[in-house]
């Protein structure tokens, strides 16, 4: 179903993680360091405290665990092959995430910066479209809303 790039320094184990613990982006960045890499891109998605003037107290994330892990693994391996990455790490948070904390972080490295940027952007697009993780916004006024974007297609693409 997918290409497993053979002989990568960066094995599949630990490459894509879903966790309740806070994310340490520095660990992620260090993990993708490689003598053949010249470009390293780290993306960190943080819970906004203010969106269009509305104060969000905190977020909570829920996932279909096995499907989310499998989907992240597949996306990670696709990114490694498609963008000739030297390494790739993905971490997504579960449970409550207070404003300012990281909800997702991805780190990629490649020989050159353009591949690293392209891979990071592609991964974030795909994660936001296909990985079964949902955000619940808990507002300062006590209300809460599960977010199911209207513009999105069915998760999983063609499946």
């Amino acid at each position: 179903m997918m290409e497993h790039p053979a002989g990568r320094a960066d094995g599949a184990q630990g490459g894509a993680v879903i966790q309740r613990e806070p994310i340490d982006p520095a660990v992620l960045l260090a993990a993708v360091g490689d003598p053949a890499a010249g470009g390293n891109v780290l993306f960190v998605g943080t819970a906004r405290g203010v969106t269009d003037g509305v104060i969000t107290k905190s977020l909570a994330y829920e996932a279909h665990g096995p499907l989310a892990r499998e989907t992240l693994d597949v996306l990670r391996l696709q990114a490694l092959a498609r963008f000739s990455l030297t390494a790739c790490r993905i971490v997504h948070r579960l449970g409550p995430v207070v404003a300012g904390e990281a909800s997702v972080a991805i780190a990629v490295s490649a020989a050159h910066r353009r591949e690293a940027f392209a891979a990071a952007e592609w991964l974030m697009e795909r994660i936001k479209a296909d990985v079964p993780i949902w955000k619940c916004e808990e507002r300062d006024d006590g209300g809460r809303t599960w977010v199911h974007p209207v513009a999105a297609g069915r998760p999983g693409g063609a499946a």
Partner: protein, 90 residues
């Protein structure tokens, strides 16, 4: 295939609900009387049981275990089925 071991109409297909769908349904599962059929059949039955889920259901995928499945995929009792509404991770 385990469906042969269940008489039609007596067996139950359990489908997991998440996020806004679980909230609307008031439950993390929906149970369907199941004599066999596809994802498309399950969609129709869920819609009948929970009309309020219809808008989200139309935009949802189905999964069995750790993979997405299409509407023509057969489902059998005992399958680890889930409805995956539009996602908002990241």
């Amino acid at each position: 295939m385990t469906s042969d071991h269940h008489a039609a109409g007596t067996a139950t297909l359990v489908i997991a609900l998440f996020a806004g769908m679980a909230e609307i349904a008031g439950s993390r599962n929906v149970e369907l009387p199941w004599g066999g059929g596809t994802v498309a059949d399950a969609r129709r039955l869920v819609r009948g049981l929970h009309p309020a889920l219809a808008p989200l259901l139309d935009r949802s995928a189905f999964a069995v275990g750790s993979r997405y499945v299409g509407d023509d995929t057969p489902l059998v009792v005992g399958d680890d089925v889930a409805i995956i509404p539009p996602v908002s991770g990241g």
